[in-house]
């Protein structure tokens, strides 16, 4: 935590970008971003002014002074026939703790069906009709902003979780598990293969006072060490992961689901949806619904005999 990087900025004309980018990439190990500069006079519109700002990121450490010298030198050589900007690059420090937090300033309460997702640091009043999930996702996936999370959460509500047992695979921030508990699920188990995600989920579960109904663990289906969570069948299994993992887990999916129960698969990019449906084809699972939205696909299956 708390890595520090030196950002080196230069502004050049568009036709110089490729050369400058190649030089920067060489000294910054590929850590280069190119951003179009915009015409400041055009306040309401995005009007590129024909220039670009290139930023190379150099990691802080013993080698930094040498790498920086070499980069500046290489830019200076390029600058001979080009932009003056290459001869005096800008420098600024950027810290991991800062850039990983910046998006939070724009994270606002949002409603997904009957569920209201509220950032942990937000004090907005949420109308009583909503089941509130207070969330600090940290570095874990699951803010509610992503279409795959929204699709999975809507599918959970459509299946009806009240009084049911729910298993959330790839729980991430715990958003789906906490929402399920808030919607009245009898018991929820959330698993993730990433221990840091489980830590983040645990904090969120505590912040939402749902420790009594939500159990969390590290691991996934088919792995030793998770049997304790899977001793009783589940009415709903929700897995908002990615297509490749759905294919790997396919054979394990039907096992924990009660007859007539549901399997919700999310996080599938449209071009890989066929792989997932093919992997499920021979299993005791019937496709009940497929939702396509913004190039993401959500699949709902029903467990058959």
């Amino acid at each position: 935590m708390g890595e520090r990087w030196l950002a080196i900025d230069v502004v050049v004309e568009e036709d110089e970008v490729d050369d400058v980018q190649a030089v920067m990439a060489r000294w910054a190990g590929g850590a280069v971003a190119v951003e179009q500069m915009i015409d400041a006079a055009a306040l309401d519109d995005f009007v590129p002014d024909g220039r670009c700002r290139l930023t190379a990121y150099l990691r802080d450490g013993a080698e930094l002074p040498v790498t920086k010298y070499q980069l500046f030198n290489a830019l200076w050589m390029l600058g001979g026939g080009g932009s003056a900007g290459l001869r005096k690059p800008g420098e600024r420090w950027t810290e991991e703790s800062e850039w990983m937090e910046q998006w939070k300033r724009f994270y606002r309460p949002l409603a997904i069906g009957r569920v209201g997702i509220v950032p942990a640091w937000d004090e907005s009043e949420i109308p009583g009709a909503y089941v509130v999930v207070s969330l600090d996702p940290g570095q874990a996936f699951g803010t509610g902003l992503h279409v795959s999370t929204r699709q999975a959460l809507l599918a959970l509500q459509q299946c009806g979780v009240e009084g049911r047992r729910v298993l959330d695979l790839g729980t991430g921030s715990g958003i789906l598990a906490i929402a399920a508990a808030g919607l009245g699920a009898a018991a929820v188990v959330g698993l993730d293969t990433d221990a840091r995600a489980v830590d983040a989920a645990r904090e969120n579960v505590t912040a939402n006072d749902q420790e009594a109904r939500i159990e969390l663990g590290v691991g996934t289906l088919g792995e030793p060490g998770v049997e304790q969570y899977l001793s009783q069948p589940f009415d709903i299994v929700v897995a908002n992961i990615v297509a490749a993992v759905h294919c790997e887990l396919a054979l394990h999916y039907p096992v924990p689901i009660a007859l007539g129960g549901h399997l919700i698969l999310g996080g599938i990019v449209d071009e890989r949806a066929d792989l997932v449906t093919a992997a499920m084809a021979e299993l005791p699972l019937a496709l009940a619904e497929r939702i396509d939205e913004e190039r993401w696909v959500n699949l709902v299956y029903t467990r058959t005999p």
Binding site: V32, A33, E35
Partner: protein, 144 residues
């Protein structure tokens, strides 16, 4: 109504293996984008090309949502792979670092066609050959 654009950021990332380390974290973070989410999506969309560098162009909107498109791998990356060399030459005129054949040139030109300002494959080959020359990579049995 089209959403208001806040910024357009271009980066060259490892297909299927991008992380939130620079350039992604700071470049997108400064515009209020959640890079954990971006990385998951980029990797998922580029997984089939793992091992290549796949450039992407991210458009950030005023509401901090974003969309992105991916491009073909950089010409220099394709040339380095074809010639089996680690890096281009520091002084391409004097020092040649590798060689490819005309068939490889045509193949790279075909991959790059969508992103090149070329009307046909011959024009694309000329552009790729120019990049090869600037890297100190020669092309056997081919005359510009």
């Amino acid at each position: 109504m089209a959403k208001k654009v806040l910024a357009v950021v271009k980066m060259q990332l490892d297909a299927g293996a991008a992380t939130v380390a620079p350039p992604v974290g700071p470049s997108l973070g400064q515009h209020g984008v959640n890079s954990v989410q971006f990385v998951k999506e980029y990797n998922e969309r580029t997984q089939s090309q793992a091992g290549s560098i796949i450039p992407c162009e991210v458009t950030v909107y005023a509401d901090r949502s974003y969309s992105f498109i991916t491009k073909t791998p950089p010409t220099s990356d394709l040339l380095r792979k074809a010639a089996g060399v680690e890096a281009g030459s520091g002084s391409p005129r004097e020092e040649k670092v590798g060689e490819i054949v005309e068939g490889q040139l045509a193949e790279i030109a075909k991959i790059k066609m969508p992103d090149l300002n070329a009307n046909d494959i011959e024009a694309a080959k000329k552009i790729v050959a120019g990049t090869a020359r600037s890297m100190g990579i020669t092309i056997a049995d081919w005359e510009d």
